[in-house]
Symmetry: C2
Subunit: 385 residues, 2 copies
Amino acid sequence: MKKWYGNSFRLGMIGGGQLGRMFIQEAANLDVHVHVLDNDENSPCKQIASSFTKGSITDFDTVYQFGKDKELITVEIENVSIEALEQLESEGKKVFPQPRILKMIRDKGLQKAFYVNNGIPTSPFYLINSKNEISTDPQVYPFVQKMRTGGYDGKGVQILKKVEDLSKAFDAPSVIEQLIPFEKELSVIVARNERGESVAYPSVECQFNEEANLVELLFTPAQISEDIDRKAQKLALELIESLDLVGILAVEFFLTKEGDLLVNEIAPRPHNSGHHTIECNSTSQFAQHLRSILNLPLGDTSIRTAGGMINLLGEQEYSGEVIYDGLEDVLAMEGVFPHIYGKVETKAFRKMGHVTITAASVELVLDKAERVKALIKVIGERRNN
Amino acid sequence: MKKWYGNSFRLGMIGGGQLGRMFIQEAANLDVHVHVLDNDENSPCKQIASSFTKGSITDFDTVYQFGKDKELITVEIENVSIEALEQLESEGKKVFPQPRILKMIRDKGLQKAFYVNNGIPTSPFYLINSKNEISTDPQVYPFVQKMRTGGYDGKGVQILKKVEDLSKAFDAPSVIEQLIPFEKELSVIVARNERGESVAYPSVECQFNEEANLVELLFTPAQISEDIDRKAQKLALELIESLDLVGILAVEFFLTKEGDLLVNEIAPRPHNSGHHTIECNSTSQFAQHLRSILNLPLGDTSIRTAGGMINLLGEQEYSGEVIYDGLEDVLAMEGVFPHIYGKVETKAFRKMGHVTITAASVELVLDKAERVKALIKVIGERRNN
């Protein structure tokens, strides 16, 4: 095999956010040089990338030119010029995850269709092109509307509770999904390399912040039966194989009150629900992503310690240059690992970092997580009116 | 306290080797921007530093100019222009470890005198200025000759076994030390911040490669009594306090057959004998160094798992562009963590990387370490004659 470390191998990363940054930290362990394209000169990857190119990740020419002198191309965000990646792939470049998968996944309508076509359980749904196709029959409320494309970090998704909510419905092609009164939300990360080997991480359990529509806290191991954990891992592995994906896939599940697992969403990249793997598992999701796209042996996914993860979101009232209030108090605690993403400006609910918490049991993790949440706040130089 | 993360705080690192590189990987977790000075454009830090300045780290003007616009300056190697660091310190810059300590430690004669003056046990010795001061009395052989300055990575240290060896003695100011028939060689890492808090890591046990005069394998926890471990930690803490050092200090001990601990050498920076802390301890030595020099709360030093560390040294017969033969086989093993330093060229016994090994017990660690050693070799494009 060609040398994949050192100066002669350039890995191109489209997107310069925190996922790319944590990936670069891991890639340094194997001396894989990561070159980054992003439009924001203050993006998290900038400080530690082998090189940083400023440019639009959704522009065909920019992405194509960036990719041309790289040996391997990957992404850390879905919203990129997939057409440019397809062109690079057609010219013989390795591009993982494969562009056809990015294309399918970024359209939540196609995602849903894929589940149905491959026998993967998911919640009942129908597709609409515009707002006026939504039923006004009070019987069908509440339901979830998800824009087919363009949603990100909780945006483009909302619950419509009653007919009166129709006025605020997105007027865009959407998935209309039955609202599942789920018991728990779970996530499983799987990885697969080019030679078809695949591995799954144990399930994690997620708690949402309703207001921000973002994961607020997750923990591992999930408080579910072994049987459910095994089923979730099996479904996630079936999914990555059906997709024939090379790379990492995060699979979010609803666990219903009846004990059924329904796939909610998938993401073909390292994922927020896998950040704890840096401290809690033998192989982090970032190291695993690297192994999978380089066609290396995949790493052990087992849990080293019970743990949890809290997102550090920008407080709603602040903007301007970020200040992590209470960071030093948190550093004084044992088994607490802050990750600061290096974003210059904070804004309401922006993901500015996360904190991993380890302890001897999930109960102790949750307790410590509450203390961490009370101590640390992401504020900014300016207080909004 | 002033903000120590983000764009407004520049940490200057003198030296661009692997210690600096692993430090930068950790510093990224807290968004501390590390700017590096090194003469070698291919130095390990180059790929991931916030900025890289090419220049001689032993030249007064170069180091002084580099340090002038930094908020804090640290080193990852002792052989730097200490005079420039003293000048920066006198102008009010924070420089940790303090230049006066670097000055003392880089002279093994002064180091020895410091131990004696502070009641720290060390092996008997005397100082010489040149070769002809060495005794020709066969009774005093064997002994160890250590050049007072300029030794590094096993160079400048040798055992003279008999009078006939005098011809190869270093003709330089040296420490002549009694050869201690030690039972084990131990290392303890301690850290201390500006407000005077200090912590010690549990002892690790080292096995040397006689030929290269370098640590070949170390493991944790050391196979010693609790009492000896406690004594070693206590001595190391006494040492860092006597020095009034801010930063990290690696203390190497001989454990004699009689159960006495003698300080062999110290290093005021992250150290080869602490690399395993990345995977094996709650806080890595690199994260701890960062915490100590930023005057942050120090991190928990406890052992998460038994582990060991093997240095990946360049095979003697090779030079040229490095190839890590067997790296993929090693990646297929569980609990095995390679760290590749990103040096472009290999040479005989050059430190090109290390591998950390974790397992349920030291016995299993040592067993796995043998398998890793048999699998991986650092070779190069050229085979020497």
